[in-house]
């Protein structure tokens, strides 16, 4: 292999990524958000009406999280400064509630093996806001894929016009559980994009999403490790609140991703 072959091999980058980058580089017009706003207005009015009938539930749970499969014409536009890039998503989580909450960090008290984590941030005291596991060999396709990624997002980012999207992943059956005060969403999801140039390899990842309705945090534990391992990691996570206040205005984008990446 030499540098020419490597340069040529960039042709293996997925066509959707090439196209999205083209849109960004060609300075496409900002896609108007009014259509989403209209949908949201409807959703909010519906939520308001619903709240009259369920005052107790609303008082106990400060935030709410609801997921749905994306409709054909649903689109999600992410802003980079004044540039807008449209992202696809098969499944979306939406949130309602206050516009601020406290920050959290977490500690993984269980791992499937020693030296499982490749990268942790910031973790000066054992508590992190991002953990990335080293890559593991996927036996189905014979390639290396991320074992586990854990990060945290906050409901205030998504209230009003926002959404947490499962970029390019289509969930199988979603199992909802309650672990104490935490709502848990477990599912396997097949990638919507192939990881090979021949477009034949669509790996299936596992997701365990933890949502604390009172505290407003969402911790996503997901990767290509087994569901058993990811669930064990999630069950043994210790999440602590910090003094930091997270506000909806802190975020440039009200759309964010819960997918499997290393970065």
């Amino acid at each position: 292999m030499n540098e020419w072959m490597l340069l040529q091999a960039m042709n293996g980058i997925h066509t959707d990524t090439v196209e999205r980058t083209r849109q960004l580089l060609e300075n496409k017009e900002v896609i108007p958000m009014y259509r989403m706003r209209k949908v949201w207005r409807t959703v909010l009015i519906a939520a308001l009406i619903a709240s009259f009938f369920s005052i107790t539930a609303y008082a106990v749970f400060h935030f709410s999280m609801n997921g749905h499969s994306s409709a054909e014409n649903e689109s999600y536009t992410v802003q980079f400064g004044n540039q807008a890039v449209e992202w696809p998503s098969k499944y979306v989580f939406r949130f309602e509630g206050p516009e601020e909450c406290r920050g959290v960090r977490f500690k993984a008290n269980w791992t499937p093996k020693e030296n499982y984590w490749d990268f942790a941030q910031p973790e000066d005291d054992g508590y992190a806001s991002l953990l990335e596991g080293s890559e593991i060999r996927n036996e189905e396709f014979g390639v290396f894929l991320p074992s586990c990624v854990i990060d945290v997002m906050y409901a205030p980012q998504f209230v009003n016009d926002g959404a947490m999207i499962l970029m390019d992943f289509e969930p199988d059956k979603i199992t909802e559980e309650s672990w104490g005060d935490v709502q848990v969403y477990k599912f396997a999801a097949k990638s919507g994009h192939a990881i090979d140039a021949d477009q034949t390899m669509f790996p299936t990842g596992n997701f365990v999403i933890l949502f604390h309705p009172e505290q407003g945090w969402i911790v996503g534990v997901r990767g290509y490790d087994s569901m058993e391992n990811l669930e064990q990691i999630a069950r043994n996570l210790e999440v602590v609140q910090t003094e930091e206040v997270i506000r909806s205005t802190d975020f440039e984008n009200k759309i964010d991703f819960c997918d499997i990446y290393i970065g």
Binding site: Q8, A9, I13, T17, R20, R22, A197, I262
Partner: protein, 185 residues
């Protein structure tokens, strides 16, 4: 004209196929070729090569994203041209030329092997990029697929140049680790 209609024209072997492609994607392909060749004339020839390659590839192929398909063809043409110029500058050419002429005699097996290796490498790069987060995908693709200058990437994403440089540095390190893991270096 919609991309699917342009592809239909190729499949129908219509004379309008190339004209419509040129109208919609001529400037885009020229920019890709120019970023690689750094010469307007060469870029123009690469774009013409691209139309010919597209004409030869369809039918048989039905690209899902026409712009990305044309981008790959343009890159192939431009990288080939750049590589050729690089070879000529390197050493007068005769020795390399003789080797190339002789290699023609062995073309089939060697080409097949190289092609297989190239396809494996493409799959690896594709998988590597798929596992990046979305901002990193944009930065990596802009730099190494489109060969965009760092300052242009920084400006489009509203990042500082140093942020883009440090992202690229980290990404190269991770790609190197991935290549080592798969036995490429």
């Amino acid at each position: 004209m919609e991309d699917s209609a342009i592809v239909d024209l190729y499949w129908q072997r219509s004379d309008r196929a190339i004209a419509e492609t040129e109208q919609k994607y001529g400037a885009y392909c020229h920019r890709i070729a120019y970023n690689i060749c750094q010469c307007d004339e060469d870029a123009e020839e690469c774009v013409n090569d691209t139309w010919l390659a597209a004409w030869n590839a369809m039918p048989d192929e039905r690209p899902r994203v026409l712009s990305a398909f044309l981008a790959c063809l343009t890159r192939n043409a431009a990288i080939g041209r750049w590589r050729e110029q690089h070879r000529q500058k390197r050493g007068g050419g005769e020795r390399d030329l003789v080797l190339e002429e002789l290699a023609d005699c062995l073309a089939t097996p060697r080409d097949t092997e190289e092609e297989a290796e190239q396809r494996e490498l493409e799959a690896l790069v594709g998988s590597f990029v798929n596992n990046l987060n979305h901002t990193e995908q944009l930065v990596f693709t802009a730099r190494y697929f489109y060969l965009c200058p760092v300052n242009q990437i920084a400006s489009k994403l509203h990042f500082s140049e140093s942020k883009v440089k440090s992202m690229l540095f980290r990404l190269r390190g991770r790609l190197r680790a991935r290549l080592e893991k798969e036995g490429y270096c």
